[in-house]
Amino acid sequence: MHIKYIGDCQLFLAFQVKAELLFINLPSRESEAMGSQTNQQNQTETEAEQLPCVLVHRSPSIELHFLTNTLAPHFRLLDPHKSSIPIDSFLSLHAPSIRALVVAGLSPVTAETLRRLPSLELVVGTSAGLDHVDLSACRLGGIAVTGAGNAFAEDVADYAVALLIDVLRRLSAGHRFVRSGIWPVKGEFPLGSKLGGKRIGIVGLGHIGSEVAKRLMAFGCNIAYTSRNKKPSVSYAYHENVCDLATESDVLIVCCALTPATHHIINKDVMKALGKDGVIINVGRGALVDEKQLVESLTKGEIGGAGLDVFENEPDVPKELFDLENVVLSPHRAVLTPQSIQSLQQLVLANLKAFFANKPLLSPVQLE
């Protein structure tokens, strides 16, 4: 089976998937029922020779695109959706030997998922955000979780800065203006707003937020932030909550994780505090922003502009935003470049190897 990744990205994946990686050799039902010692002995020897098992945890429509090729040489990848037996049976059968799972894309990992995998000790996330993983349940079950670490940070930070420059300097609007052929006719194009000297408020100074700050410093911006905890090693001004940050900022860049505590963290009060010239850039999760309120504030001119890579109900985007020239829209692409995928491949491989060698994980997520 050859799978070719299409599109003009420079990373071209073609691999042949061996049948035994995705389909298991089922012992016959009879011998299983008999539970004969001979069969068990044979199984033990075979298992010892085999690579460590890793469950590919995925919703039916989501593939483990970028990682199968990297992981296959080192682990026995078990994929219940590619088995000929029902998923429940597959999981019951293999549960005892599944100590680690890798999450394909944003496939949800729920308490129910964990309940069916009593031997599970590690959940390997493969995305920048982990709001689709029940971190509480993992903590209660003593299950470690690894995240994307720094793999995506630069690309997301680049994109956040790109969105901000686009909104302030009207790049996409200007591009439309020229392409429409109106420039020779209409001549004047509205002035933009200078980036230098702007007060940037970063919501969440993690891997991504730090990279955003580093870039915007070079543009002569002033950086302040809010985070769960103040970062002592950082010289940017700290605010205890988003409202205070918004009051002192011209721009809010949302880069924090989506958790129950941060749901709609950018709400009406924050938007009011930011003010009518304020700009919101969201490269986190749609639900970090009260989208309905944002649309209202933008259409009423109560907020200066927005650059949005994520939405509450992707791929649905509020149509009212399509008519606004001070808004830049993006189809959740901040993360993905061939280079960030390569970084992720290396990180996931390294985390799994470390786990099975009883060594420290490279990008563990702190579970609260």
Partner: protein
């Protein structure tokens, strides 16, 4: 000073216009049907001309204004001004350096990001409703790309400083090597173009730099490289640029300037690896005001016999 005639050939900026009107006898040439006659009629009182990126003072205009003493340009580039003739006739020339440096550099980086990450195409993808049918493809990482800068002056240096924050390695080609930087110097544009992934044009337009980016240089940048122009349209052989993009010999382009602004080759409109801007390098409210203030202060200084703030001639 209200009797001093100042010629404003084309509309430039509302604030600038208002401030000029407060202080001088301002002639708005674009509102006049018979321009040549108008200039003849008022030649005796016109002592200053305001220039910008698209309008300066060529030999013909200078000859038509025997009382011209100063040209104050609402721009940093002076390629539209016959500087030689100004020197000969003792006409002072001022421009607006420094105040617009950051904005132009910001736009240059913005164009690079927009081209590499297909920002405008992504926006279009969402607005057209295409996202419902599937994800947009992958785009190329910006951080860490090797940058080449043609002209390491104020703007070029500001571009370099920003690009460094993205982990980019900087190299440059300039009239002369700059001893105060650690960036790698190339003595010619071909070597620079061959050795970088993103080439920025940020030098002034002169006889030497006209069409400095020709077919050879474009081919040297290559199908994976991109070209960003925030200098002047004539820096690039535009037809060669268009054919290189159409044929895939150049990876992409971000253009704020064109050879015959505001006309832009239509073949560029549908290319997804091209981002076009209507010459907005310094077009922010803040910077336009700063530029206008500088033009006014130069004029006031001149007519009060004080030293000019930013003279070039």
């Amino acid at each position: 000073m209200e009797s001093i005639g100042v010629l404003l050939p084309i509309p430039m900026n509302t604030y600038l216009e208002q401030e000029l009107e407060k202080r001088f006898n301002l002639f708005k040439l674009w509102k006049v049907p018979q321009k040549t006659q108008f200039i003849k009629d008022h030649a005796d009182s016109i002592r200053a001309v305001i220039g910008n990126a698209s309008s300066g003072a060529d030999a013909e205009l200078i000859d038509a204004l025997p009382k011209l003493e100063i040209l104050a340009s609402f721009s940093v580039g002076l390629d539209r001004v016959d500087l030689k003739k100004c020197r000969e006739k003792g006409i002072r020339v001022t421009n607006t350096p420094d105040v617009l440096t950051e904005d132009v550099a910001d736009l240059a980086i913005g164009l690079m990001l927009a081209v590499l990450r297909r920002l405008c195409e992504c926006d279009r993808y969402v607005r057209s409703g295409n996202w419902k049918d599937g994800d947009y493809k992958l785009t190329t990482k910006c951080s860490g790309k090797s940058i080449g800068i043609v002209g390491l002056g104020r703007i070029g240096s500001a571009i370099a400083k920003r690009a460094e924050a993205f982990g980019c390695k900087i190299s440059y080609f300039s009239k002369s090597e700059k001893t105060h930087t650690n960036y790698k110097y190339y003595s010619n544009i071909m070597d620079l173009a061959t050795n970088c992934e993103v080439l920025f044009i940020s030098c002034s337009l002169t006889e030497e730099t006209r069409h400095i980016v020709n077919r050879e240089v474009i081919n040297a940048i290559g199908p994976k490289g991109i070209l960003i122009n925030i200098g002047r349209g004539p820096h690039i052989e535009e037809q060669e640029l268009v054919s290189a993009l159409m044929e895939g010999r150049l990876g992409g382009a971000g253009l704020d300037v064109f050879e015959k602004e505001p006309e832009v080759p239509e073949q560029l409109f549908e290319l997804e690896n091209v981002v076009l801007a209507p010459h907005v390098g310094s077009d922010t409210v803040e910077t336009c005001q700063a530029m206008a203030d500088l033009v006014i202060r130069n004029l006031e200084a001149y007519f009060q016999n004080k030293p000019l703030l930013t003279p070039v001639v």
